[in-house]
């Protein structure tokens, strides 16, 4: 790697810093900056639209009341907010430990067929359609608990199926670039492998791991299709994932949009407000993750 750099750079230097190299540099830099600006345009448009349409739907009622017994324009989404937090929380509790341990396996321990199989199939798992994950979770629980079962934790299981491959993939990439010399130094001091991993490798990769988990959480927090078939739809508050149906913001928004009833604008307002709340939740989590990142980021010398 290093020799390639030296060779490549030397060849360039031999030609001198002519106008051609300078022009190419400026062009490519401009293109890269342009890519960033292009990427920002849909973001700004999206956030603007959601904010514009969602703010009318926000109110104290929206955050503190559920929809039980509410007809027409009244009612809030408190039950949906709690539901989203619970379902996503349980999904993360399931996915993150397993995902990181599996990434550790792939990167630090794995050899031979198990490693190759896992790598390959994790890639495949990233392509599972969200609704298939939902159907699978439903079939799994139906096997043990009979038909028509609807539980918050079923949604979490379906979301875990979607979350785990992202956690593994991102964690693996981050663990891979922790340089070997850190590990070697640790072994040279006689530290056992597991301690090396937990005290040297993981802390070095910590910031990147947090980013990976954040990507995975963001991916699943807005999922609708799998939750429609697993957690059901309900108007009342329920914070117990193991008992009964649970509403969540994504399904709530989808329902308000799909069946607005006669008071169409109020329903649409609530749908957009729910979407805005979802984005706000992920934003808050992201901010927390970023602060962690800033604090614990270690640079590789």
């Amino acid at each position: 790697m290093e020799s390639a750099t030296v060779t490549g750079s030397s060849r360039l230097l031999a030609g001198g810093l002519g106008w051609r190299r300078r022009a190419l540099n400026i062009t490519m830099t401009a293109l890269i900056a342009a890519a960033f600006v292009i990427a920002l345009i849909p973001l700004i448009s999206l956030v603007y639209e959601v904010a514009k349409r969602g703010i009318p739907g926000l109110s104290l009622e929206f955050f503190t009341e559920d929809a039980r017994g509410q007809i027409g324009e009244g009612g809030g989404a408190a039950h949906a907010i709690v539901g989203t937090l619970v379902i996503t929380g349980v999904a993360s509790v399931i996915s993150v430990p397993i995902g990181i341990m599996a990434a550790i396996y792939l990167n630090e321990y794995g050899t031979g067929r198990l490693r190759r199989a896992l790598t390959f199939f994790v890639d495949v798992m990233t392509g599972i359609p969200s609704i298939v994950a939902g159907l699978f979770a439903y079939a799994l629980f139906e096997l043990f608990l009979g038909p028509g079962i609807r539980l918050g934790v079923m949604g979490s299981v379906a979301l875990s199926v979607l979350m785990i491959p992202i956690v593994i993939r991102a964690a693996e990439e981050v663990l891979k670039i922790v340089p070997d010399h850190l590990r070697e130094a640790s072994y040279a001091l006689g530290t056992p492998k597991w301690k090396t991993i937990t005290k040297v490798v993981l802390p070095t990769a910590f910031a990147g791991l947090v980013t990976g988990v954040m990507i995975a959480v963001a991916r699943i927090v807005g999922e609708t299709a799998p939750l429609l078939v697993t957690t059901g739809v309900v108007d009342s508050m329920n914070s117990d994932p193991f008992n009964g149906r649970m509403q969540n913001l994504a399904v709530y928004a989808y329902n308000e949009y799909r069946s607005p009833g006669v008071f169409k604008q109020a329903a649409y307002d609530k749908a957009w407000a729910a979407a805005l709340t979802l984005i706000a939740i992920v934003m808050l989590l992201n901010i927390a993750a970023r602060l962690v990142y800033r604090r614990y980021k270690t640079e590789i010398r």
Partner: protein
């Protein structure tokens, strides 16, 4: 890897010399890691078994029993085509953009802004898929209508822009673009992490030898991150292949296999087709839908195999 092995062995010898307790820690930890790996494979096997057992009745049924009275192959072919087409558009647009974004933040942007800018792009990942769907039909679609008309007028001789241009903008092109925006943050986040971690000394080495910023990027950063970018692209592609809600809401699904990107007659994607038809289906129709899920599984498998082959080839250079 062999250097680490030697050191590991030496470390283990040292550890053995200092007593059996450490070996227990190692055993427990490595067992946990292996168990996690196996659990995930078991989960995946479970999903695969589910797809196969529920899909099999449809695969073996005759054409007359299946929805639309076609054989299964005829039923799933346009769906598979649509899936691949939409995802291809998404990947072609998103990956270059994502690489640009991932290069911009650590290497081109002012360092103080880097974190905030990265955060902004990651925000795209926070947006729920229904919102993308609604944005597609309320904002991007209508905005695209004049563009589609222009494409039909100027480039209508290409099979992609044959037209007639849709009046609502809910076309394959728009759906592909929305998918591109959806997968952009995934690809760019993975790429950004890796580009940011390009070893300083390599970068400084190139710069010391007089390379311009772009040259340093081309010679040091890109090769360093190439396989990670491909991995990130695969993650993004997986998301695009399996995306259900946004495509269901946006795409005007009323056609068969066609490369026409701007009309109202588009093939559906496998995931969107399941979402659209599952609610009202019963019996064999449900089996057929799940069997299409199995086909999607297979498509993802093949794409990933190809990507892995590409990565492996580069790593040997």
């Amino acid at each position: 890897m062999s250097q680490v092995d030697t050191t590991t062995n030496a470390g283990q010898l040292l550890a053995a010399a200092s007593g059996g307790r450490r070996r227990l820690g190692d055993r427990v930890f490595s067992r946990t890691a292996v168990v996690s790996a196996v659990t995930i494979l078991a989960l995946l096997a479970g999903v695969a078994m589910f797809l196969v057992s529920e899909g099999l009745p449809a695969l073996t049924a005759s054409a007359s029993e299946l929805p639309e009275g076609k054989s299964f192959v005829d039923y799933v072919a346009p769906l598979a085509f649509g899936t691949v087409l939409a995802s291809a558009i998404a990947a072609l647009v998103a990956v270059p953009l994502a690489v640009g974004v991932a290069l911009f933040i650590p290497h081109v942007a002012p360092p103080r802004m880097a974190l905030t800018l990265g955060y902004l792009v990651d925000l795209l990942a926070a947006i729920p898929s229904i919102v993308y769907g609604l944005w597609g039909i309320f904002v991007l679609g209508p905005a695209a209508v004049p563009v589609l008309k222009w494409l039909e007028e100027r480039l209508g001789w290409l099979p992609f822009f044959e037209g007639p241009a849709s009046a609502t903008g809910r076309t394959m092109l728009v759906a592909g673009l929305v998918l591109a925006v959806m997968i952009l943050p995934i690809v760019s986040a993975v790429a950004r992490e890796v580009f940011a971690q390009t070893p300083r000394k390599l970068q400084e080495g190139a710069q010391a030898l007089g390379a311009t910023r772009w040259e340093m990027i081309r010679i040091v950063v890109l090769p360093f991150g190439r396989s990670s970018v491909i991995s990130g692209a695969m993650l993004g592609l997986g998301r695009a292949l399996g995306e259900t809600m946004a495509v269901t809401i946006i795409l005007s699904v009323s056609g068969a296999v066609t490369f026409n990107l701007i009309s109202q007659a588009n093939p559906s994607t496998i995931a969107a087709n399941i979402a659209l038809n599952f609610p009202e289906s019963s019996g064999l129709a449900i089996n057929a839908l799940i069997a299409t899920g199995l086909v999607l599984f297979a498509i993802t498998l093949v794409t990933n195999m190809a990507a892995r082959a590409v990565i492996a080839r580069h790593e040997h250079e």
